[in-house]
Symmetry: C2
Subunit: 119 residues, 2 copies
């Protein structure tokens, strides 16, 4: 019997910010939920676009051509190779969509680099 | 200046059910919003998985091993080659994620087959 993936239920089990959990696979892509809070490492993904869809709260993505601030139900695709810095002073819950091989800090390893974790 | 994609705003402009609109591209994948209502064509996609994420309302996906009913914030991935029939008696707003070449009725063309439309 198939069961739904409930994004809020998975997020309720996450306390640490910037620690994505893979909740579903789509071919060789991951759907990941992450709790954001504060400032993330500026980085880029030379090999892939990346989707940010805000589920609750507010997330700003700092880009060289301006910031984009997302609220619930709003998304932005950071193009391949584009430097970006997620910034979330008040916190947010976010759905990320990207190839399964994608590392959260891309080309800029930092103390926020996270292992891929599948729920 | 980058701007967010607002899923509710795009959906507000859609009146017809089962007519997806591509709101964003992720590499060679589409993110599509669709208004569902009533019964869709049973079909499968021999070449790809397909993500259904419900934004509002309720969507049932009939599968050979049981139905899965999704509410807001719940998703299901229909595996490649799996027959499925979306059914939404009371209506829903849904985000679909799938390769850009994917046709909504997959291997079963019907009067509900829709052209790919990019917002």
């Amino acid at each position: 019997m198939p069961t739904p993936v409930d994004l809020a239920a998975v997020l309720a089990g996450i306390t640490q910010p910037w620690q994505p959990r893979t909740v579903a696979l789509l071919n060789d892509y991951d759907l990941r939920v992450v709790r954001t809070h504060g400032e993330f490492t500026r980085h880029s993904h030379p090999e892939t676009d990346e989707v940010f869809l805000v589920l609750s709260g507010s997330l700003t993505i700092r880009l060289d051509d301006g910031d984009v601030t997302l609220g619930p139900g709003q998304l932005h695709v950071v193009p391949k190779g584009t430097p970006h810095q997620p910034y979330s002073p008040d916190g947010a819950e976010v759905l990320l969509i990207e190839p399964s091989a994608t590392v959260n800090t891309g080309d800029t390893p930092s103390e926020l680099t996270a292992e891929r974790r599948v729920v």
